[in-house]
């Protein structure tokens, strides 16, 4: 922390929030709001004179409310910057009649009641998102009597009680009588691994944090007895098993089973914990002086204000943490280039893993900054303004904000920011006038593949569009796993299923394709944030059109297959192979006749679209 404060290359903006980010990889612009501190941090010497005269005392957040602080305060002794802050919500005010005592005694005259904060704009090439997580709040469900019994505390509160810089100067005391507890229990998985309370996933850190805390207790108080109630102890990291063994060797009892009931003895304020020991199958009662809840970690949620995730257009996995570009190959990259993740914003992790990931994220960012320039694979979109009707569709569907908005009144065409374009092709597929073409995945190239595949023996083939990142890779996974499936599938790779223009599908049916499959990523995996939602909408549109034309919609299939789902890929191919046999040559001939009579996609020229929409 101190190194950051001293580093000449780091400008630390505390009390500040990112309000807006524009631009693209290598060329972002961030708007940062510094909220008022009411103390000029650069001038403050942290002499404490102001706090000494401040008449207001409020619970100290840093000490988990176990002690108080003043309305003007230093967050904690080692704070960086080492400067006081005025908590305006609790301050009595600057008028001499109200108070203003701090300003009177400040020798440096660095208290500024009129501080309005400021707004800064900074150009940056890369962004590291390290916004962390929040700790589970056991009050919501009154976990284990937390809101009723004062001697039930959280693991975070325990940290303050055992800390030399804490409210009890490191002497572990229990809240009700400030006596050192002799019998201390720990409950694991509070708010984690539960379908009904908190979150369903494992919060990663709580087992080892509890092991650590039992060791700390035994270090301070050799005569203390410690009991841990758990489901599984997950001591998977380097050196973890050793610590766990040390904890057991110290005499900590590990009871497999979470308490069913916690009661307080009204006289002694001791806690009586009832638990089924699932190792012995027996019901046990434990009388404890203090019970510590090992609370889990949760992703941040917005509280009305736009979150960093929303500002940066970051997607989330089903657990609410940010989605990486690839879980194995690009685990610290956001799908949007130039943005990287570090720490618990990506998933719950301990200090070591946070540091490791932060170094990885920095390395990825350094890679970009060090190169001084960013090269973009030539698979981007191109726009030919001649055909453009400025309808705004491309700007709307672009998942990475790479297309600037058009303005019909001012005759301003949309334009593609090539460095920001991720190459998904959704704009090209959605553009009603074919104004947008994709480099390296052009209409002509894809249609040529459709024609080649259906040139011979078409009745035995399942024409499949597969996105590069998930479904095509799922096919690769089936291959490396040697999963066998019938040889009827013929893949056409596109970067994203969002590229699959409906005209590709109609062209396939017109050429006699018995069965067409569009396959892409699961919604939570989409490499292009939400491009896959356009795939779904488009396929639904084609289905309804097929219905109207009298073509069986079942001949167009839609499947989401991830890169890891080789098994699913093989299963889908087996199922579709069965389906293939149910399509008759007569049905296919009929489809060809229908489509020859009535082209389902209107002409894509500017005039044709104008006529169709008139």
């Amino acid at each position: 922390m101190m190194d950051v404060g001293r580093h000449p290359k780091i400008k630390t903006l505390v009390n500040s929030e990112v309000e807006e980010v524009s631009g693209f990889v290598g060329n972002f612009r961030a708007r940062i709001r510094r909220n008022p501190r009411y103390v000029v941090a650069e001038d403050c010497t942290a002499c404490d004179e102001c706090a000494r005269v401040c008449p207001v005392a409020v619970p100290d957040e840093y000490q988990q409310g176990f002690s108080s602080r003043k309305a003007i305060y230093l967050p904690f002794p080692q704070a960086v910057p080492s400067a006081y802050i005025l908590d305006m919500e609790n301050c009595l005010g600057s008028e001499p009649i109200a108070c203003g005592r701090c300003a009177e005694v400040c020798e440096k005259k660095c208290i500024d009641f009129d501080d309005q904060g400021e707004v800064l704009e900074v150009p940056v090439g890369s962004i590291v998102v390290a916004t962390g997580m929040k700790v589970y709040d056991p009050r919501m469900n009154d976990e284990y009597g937390y809101t009723r019994f004062d001697n039930v505390i959280t693991s975070m509160e325990f940290e303050r009680l055992i800390c030399a810089g804490g409210p009890s100067a490191g002497h572990l005391v229990r809240p009700t009588d400030r006596r050192t507890p002799k019998r201390i229990g720990f409950v694991q998985c509070v708010g984690s691994r539960s379908a009904t309370r908190g979150v369903p996933y494992c919060s990663n850190i709580c087992c080892m944090n509890t092991v650590k805390q039992t060791l700390q207790i035994h270090e301070h108080y050799q005569d203390a007895s410690t009991t841990v109630f758990y489901m599984d102890i997950r001591a998977f990291g380097k050196g973890f098993e050793d610590l766990y063994r040390r904890s057991r060797d110290n005499g900590t009892r590990y009871v497999r089973g979470l308490p069913g009931n916690v009661e307080e003895d009204p006289e002694t304020r001791d806690l009586v914990v009832t638990v089924e020991n699932t190792t012995t199958g027996k019901l046990e009662q434990h009388r404890l002086d203090m019970l510590v809840l090992a609370v889990g970690l949760e992703p941040h949620k917005g509280n009305g204000k736009k979150t960093v995730d929303e500002i940066l257009n970051l997607s989330h996995t089903s657990d609410g943490f940010v989605l990486e570009a690839h879980p194995k190959l690009k685990p610290v990259d956001a799908p949007t280039r130039g943005i990287f993740f570090a720490g618990c914003v990506e998933a719950p992790k301990d200090v070591k893993d946070s540091v490791t990931q932060a170094s990885a994220a920095a390395a990825r960012a350094l890679n970009l900054l060090g190169a001084g320039k960013v090269q973009v694979e030539a698979i981007t979109a191109m726009l030919d303004t001649e055909q453009c009707i400025m309808c705004g569709v491309c700007t709307r569907v672009c998942p990475v904000n790479a297309i600037t908005a058009s303005n019909k009144k001012q005759k301003q065409f949309p334009s593609i920011i090539e460095a920001a374009c991720a190459g998904c092709g959704t704009c090209a597929a959605e553009c009603p006038t074919d104004t947008i073409a994709m480099r390296h995945f052009s209409d002509a190239q894809i249609l040529a593949q459709v024609e080649a595949i259906l040139a011979e023996d078409r009745m035995s083939k399942i024409l499949t569009f597969a996105c590069n990142w998930c479904s095509y890779a799922g096919g690769d996974m089936a291959g490396t796993s040697r999963l066998q499936y019938p040889p009827s599938v013929r893949l056409i790779r596109t970067m994203c299923s969002g590229r699959v223009d409906e005209k590709f599908i109609w062209h396939a049916f017109r050429l006699g394709a018995p069965l067409v499959l569009v396959s892409g990523c699961h919604f939570s995996d989409c490499h292009y944030i939400d491009a896959v939602t356009w795939t779904q909408k488009r396929v639904e549109k084609v289905w309804s059109r097929m219905e109207k034309l009298g073509i069986r919609p079942g001949r167009l299939q839609l499947e989401w297959i991830s890169a890891a789902e080789g098994q699913k890929f093989a299963r889908v191919m087996r199922e579709l192979h069965e389906h293939l046999h149910r399509v008759t040559p007569a049905e296919v001939e009929e489809t060809i006749r229908i489509l020859e009579k009535q082209p389902p996609v209107p002409g894509r020229s500017k005039t044709a679209v104008a006529a169709a929409t008139a």
């Binding site: 009390n15 080692q78 390290a130 960012a365 040697r482």
Partner: protein
Amino acid sequence: MNNEELRVGVFVCDCGHNIAGTIDTADVAAFSEGLPDVVAVVRNRYTCADPGQNEIKKAIAEHQLNRVVVVACTPKIHEPTFRNCVAEAGLNPYLMEMANVREHCSWVHFQDKEAATAKAKDLVRSAVERARKLEAQEEKSFPVTDAALVIGGGVAGIQAALELADGGHQVYLVEKQPTIGGNMAALDKTYPTMDCSI
């Protein structure tokens, strides 16, 4: 490029037994010769190895190839390899196309060698047709602003900021709270070393 005569080279890889164990690669190679604009067909044991790549470079020079189709594995592994290979021979890297007859064919259909060979031919036909429509592309590059924004001043943000700054780059470290440190600063000791958090 539009009016240029197309000259396609097809390079069929055995991949040891990985492909040739299931697919009759000689048959696929012979089939490839009959495809439109194909002027050279070469079979290799391992196309990705140096001798295989040299065959491609040699054929590009000898037959003035302007399109290359590599019939081998998934482009997700070796597309960069073969793009570099053709670029070294003076061909635009975007004029190279791959037909994936390993992950998508030989490995998943080894119980039906005949059908696998027939499918492989189809995949080559499709790849050649796509190759015939390929256009040279230039990768664009853009300048990068030499500064980084780190959002969040907890342990991860601190570490990332230090790494970037030590690397000589300007860092803006933005923290919502009045001090950096985040959740870590609220801890007493940290495992596995049991030392102080701050």
